[in-house]
Symmetry: C2
Subunit: 387 residues, 2 copies
Amino acid sequence: MLQIWLSLLSGLCLRLVFLCSAEEGLEFPNFDGKDRVLDINERNYKKALKRYDLLCLFYHEPLPANKGLQKRFQMTELVLELTAQVLEDKDIGFGMVDSQKDSKVAKKLGLEEVGSLYVFKDDRVIEFDGELSADTLVEFLLDVICHQCLSVSPVPSDFKAFQEASERFQPYIKFFATFDKSVAKHLSLKMNEVNFYEPFMEEPAILPGRPLSEMDIVEFVTQHRRATLRKLRAENMFETWEDDMDGIHIVAFAEEEDPDGYEFLEILKDVARDNTNNPELSIVWIDPDDFPLLTTYWEKTFKLDLFRPQIGVVNVTDADSVWLDMSNDEDLPTAEELEDWIEDVLSGRVNTEDDDEFADDQDNPDSYITEDSDESRDPDEEDDGDD
Amino acid sequence: MLQIWLSLLSGLCLRLVFLCSAEEGLEFPNFDGKDRVLDINERNYKKALKRYDLLCLFYHEPLPANKGLQKRFQMTELVLELTAQVLEDKDIGFGMVDSQKDSKVAKKLGLEEVGSLYVFKDDRVIEFDGELSADTLVEFLLDVICHQCLSVSPVPSDFKAFQEASERFQPYIKFFATFDKSVAKHLSLKMNEVNFYEPFMEEPAILPGRPLSEMDIVEFVTQHRRATLRKLRAENMFETWEDDMDGIHIVAFAEEEDPDGYEFLEILKDVARDNTNNPELSIVWIDPDDFPLLTTYWEKTFKLDLFRPQIGVVNVTDADSVWLDMSNDEDLPTAEELEDWIEDVLSGRVNTEDDDEFADDQDNPDSYITEDSDESRDPDEEDDGDD
C-alpha cells in the first residue's frame, strides 16, 4: 500500500529548499497549521452553503483502516488545506463529505462520484474532473471566481441571457462581453450578437437568431462544444479523455516549444480549420511539456518517441494504438497527407485492430506517408476524391 | 515544524482518485516500492559517475532530529524516487549526498549549495535551480537527455565547436543544427553560420567571425544570454530571479490566454524588439497561470489584481514594488507609453523608494498613464527626447 500513497507525491514540491536565498518575491506558501477544511455533516452543510460564495466539497470513501491508505487520505486533506489557505481571502469554503457517515448529506447535495470534488456556486454545481493537485485546483478555482469579477453595470436586459448561459459553462468555456464600440468593430461583432470561437479557429461562428434566449445560447454551445482540435489540459483532462469518439481518440503529440512540434501543430490547425464542420472529427492535442510525469508512460504504452511529433488513434478501452509513420526525419506530413490519413481513420481503414493482425508481418503496416516512394501507399486503396 | 513539511505538499497530486475510470491512456505512475536513489558515499561515488549517462545528486543537510523536518526530508527522497522510477529507462542515476557525513565526497564533486540538485553529465555539472517538484524535475531531465538525441552523423569538424559550445548551456538554451539546404534557406542561414535568436525577437543576431571556435560561441551566448524580455519558468525560476538588475526587476504579469493579457504581451514584445540592444533592460514576464500557488502571494505582496495585466518595478531585497497605473479599464498603454515609463524606471525617476515617501499623500504617485488627462504627468518632469 506504500505504493499507493507515494503515487500521490508525483507533483510534490520542495520549494522551501531554495528559500534560503536572500532575494524576495518568489515565496511559495507555507501551511500555517490552521484547520480550514470543514468536516461536513447534516448539522453544518446548509450553513456552509450559505456562508461562502463558493463551497468546494471533496466526496470521499470512509477513512481506511490501512495505514498506507490513511496517509493517502491525509494528503488529500493537506491538498485541500493548502488550497484553502492560499485562497483564504477569496471567500471559498472547503469541506469533506464521507460517503458512508454522511450519505444522507451526499444524497441531498447530489454528490455521486466518490473521489470527486464538487464546487457549489449559487444554485450550480461544477464537478472538477482534472488533476487533483493544489496547483491545478487553485488555478481552477481562481478561474471560477474570476468569472464573478466580470459583472458589468448597468447590465442591459439582452445581456442577462448571455450572462446566465455563461454560468452553465464556466470556467471551462470563457464568456466575454464588450460594451465598447471600437472593440466590437475590431471583432466584427454586431450589437447583441453572440460569436462562438472554437479553439484554433480564425473565424467565429455567429449564433443564429435574435434576440437570443439563455436556452438558445446554451443549446448552441453544447452542440459546438467538442472542438475539432482540443488541447488536453490538467484542469479537465479526465473529462476530455472520457469524451471519446466511439471508443477512440485521434491523439496528436506536439511540443509547442519545439520547432518540429510547432510546425506540426500549425499543420494540425490547418487541418482542423478545413474540417471544422465535420462533427465526426475531434483531435486531442497533447503537449508533452504539460504532463512530464505521463511522458514516459505514454512512450511505453504507445511505443512512441515523444521527442518527435506524433499522431495516432488510441482505443480508450485498452489503450491499444496505431500511429502514423513520421519516422522520416526530413519532412512532416502536409495538411493534405494528414487529411487523407484522418479520412482513413474515420472510415475505419486505419484502426487499432488491423494493427494487431499484421503486427508480426510488417514493420509499419499502416504507414504510407514516406517522402520518396508512392508504392508505400496501398495501391488497392480507393481514393474518395472528395477533397 | 508541521508548517514546514506541509508547505512541501503544494504541488501534491491525488491523481489516483480518478483512476477508477474505465478508460485507459492517462495513468499517472504509481511508485513500485523499489529503492532507486543511492546513498552516495566515498566508496560508491566514482562507480555511480561511471555507470550512468547522467547522475543526479541531491546535496542535503544531515537528517534532522525533529520529526517535522524528517518528514520533509522523506518527501525530498520520495520526489527523487518517483522521478527515478519514471525515468527508469533513460539511464539516469539518482543519489543523496549528506553535507556532514559525506563532506569529503561533496568537496571532490564540487557540491557547494546545500539543498541544491546537481546533474553530472560527461565532464559537466548542471545545477538545477528550479521548482523541485517531480513534474518540473522530470521535464528538466528529459530536456537534458533530449539534447543527446540530437547527435548527427557524420559530424563535420566545423560543427564540433558548435556542439561543444551547446553543452555549456543546455538545457536552458536550445541549440539546433540543420544539414538541410531548404531549411537553411528558409531560415536565411548561411553555411557554417550561427544565428542567435533572443526570445520574442523576430530577427536573429548573427555571430561575427568565421570559422567560429567553441569559445567564440560561448562568449557571444554568455554576453547575450539575458534577454530583453524573459519568461519566468519553473525550471529555472530562482536563477532568473537572482539575476536582477542592480537589485530590481521590471516585472510584467500577463496571462497569455486572457485577451487583455495577450494584448499586453504583444505590446511588451514590441517594446522588447525596439529595445533589444539596450543591455540595461530586461523585463521578467510572469504568466500567473504557470504559478497558481504564487498568485495570491504576489497579489498580497505587491498589492495587485492579477486578473489584469500589470507591470512594475520590484526591489528584490525587500519585495517593495511600484506599479504602473493601468486601472483604467478601457485601454492598455501603447508601446510608446510603456517605453516612456521604462525610461523613467531605468533613469530612476520611477523607483520603489519614492513610492514609500509619497504613499500617504497620493493614491497613485507614480502613475501618469491615464487616457483622458495629460495633467497626470508631472509637468516638471524632463523629457530625455532620445526615443
